[in-house]
């Protein structure tokens, strides 16, 4: 009896963690607009909005070059930095997506 109960609790925990985990998988893709700017589009695998989510453009050293937030369309546009960089889409702990600057094309 005890064992069955434990199993049920475990199953419930697994289901709960699995579904929240999946629902909040963050996604971010960046595109070169061909005019010296880059647009990053953020979102989640369940289709929920990323408006207001933090986005940072950082140098290799970790220095933050640009700090912004996704707009109401879950987008953020910035000027392409001259040196190497990466984009961090930060939807909270464990929910950070990094995009390498050199992988961003049209």
């Amino acid at each position: 009896m005890k064992k069955v109960f434990l199993k049920m609790v475990l199953a419930a925990v697994l289901i709960f963690t699995a579904s929240t985990g999946l629902a909040h998988t963050p996604l971010c893709s960046c595109y070169d607009n061909g005019d010296g700017t880059i647009t990053c589009e953020g979102g989640f695998s369940d289709g929920s909005s990323a408006a207001g989510v933090a986005l940072r453009v950082v140098e290799k050293s970790g220095k933050v070059l640009i700090k912004g937030k996704m707009d109401e369309d879950s987008e953020f546009t910035f000027e392409r930095p001259s040196g190497p960089f990466k984009v961090q889409f930060d939807a909270g702990p464990g929910h950070v997506v990094e995009v390498e600057g050199k992988e961003i094309s049209q």
């Binding site: 893709s29 589009e41 990323a50 049209q106």
Partner: protein
């Protein structure tokens, strides 16, 4: 002598078979679910896909557009009609006028929609007009795939059309002028010959062999809510054509079968 007899028999079989195989308006692009955005080829071909058979001449479509949606953003419509370039598509037995374009896809859902010029099917004495939709996705972030695109006749997916494993079911609802069509007849064909976009032709090699003619073109009916369900037996593109949804519809004074077509692509679980 034997050879000639076999050829005659072949011709006779082909001639008898043609009316039984369905016409399918295709909007074809190689992938339905892409990891990265970029330029993708899109072709419009009006054909008999299982057999890569008789390909009909398409006129310039009345409308060709894409609805892009991402997350909770409202879908954005982009007219693609003037990007179309005429091509000649080679089937295994003939060639037909078709259309091609390239499209730059960023993240989210892209619902390609074509409203073709009605096709005069002399053999059957009526026109055919197949409003067709294909929904692809870039990056896994869904958009408004479940929302009607607003076509006069339309299949609206109840299952995400680009996330089907082989063996899943696909469900859709058949609409005409925005209303469900109870008991709609739906024909289903498998895209059995790979479209070769560098040659504007179907590959000769077939992926599957039908043991008998009935399997070339499968038939199901929608339920009283206009909803149909199909179990997907094989990876690749599957076309669904809901037929004659508005039986009194006429074009240039003649009967016109007003159809709704949708294509989905299933992927093997590996």
């Amino acid at each position: 002598m034997k050879k000639i007899a076999a050829m005659l028999l072949g011709l006779a079989v082909m001639a008898m078979s043609v009316p039984a195989f369905a016409h399918f308006q295709m909007i074809y692009t190689p992938e339905a679910a892409m990891n990265k955005g970029g330029k993708i080829p899109v072709v419009l071909v009006f054909t008999h896909p299982f057999e890569a058979g008789h390909t009909m001449d398409m006129g310039k479509p009345e409308q060709f557009f894409v609805l892009r949606s991402r997350g909770e953003n409202a879908p954005k419509k982009r007219d693609l009609l003037n990007t179309l370039k005429p091509i000649t598509w080679q089937s295994l037995i003939n060639s037909g006028k078709a259309w091609a374009t390239t499209y730059s896809a960023r993240g989210g859902d892209h619902a390609f929609c074509v409203i073709p010029e009605p096709y005069w099917e002399g053999g059957e004495g009526h026109y055919i007009k197949q409003n067709t939709k294909v929904i692809i996705n870039v990056g896994g972030e869904p958009g408004a795939w479940m929302a009607p695109a607003g076509l006069p006749t339309e299949i609206v997916p109840l299952s995400k059309p680009y996330d089907r494993w082989t063996g899943n079911v696909f469900q859709g609802r058949v609409l005409c002028n925005g209303k469900a069509v109870p008991g709609a007849e739906i024909e289903i064909e498998y895209l059995n010959h790979k479209p070769l976009l560098d040659k504007n032709a179907f590959a000769e090699e077939a992926n599957a062999t039908a043991p008998q003619d009935a399997f070339v073109l499968q038939t199901i009916f929608a339920d009283s809510n206009g909803v149909f369900t199909f179990g997907i037996p094989k990876a690749g593109w599957w076309g669904f054509a809901a037929l004659d949804l508005d039986p009194s519809y006429k074009y240039k004074g003649k009967k016109c079968s007003r159809d709704a077509v949708m294509w989905i692509k299933a992927v093997d679980m590996k």
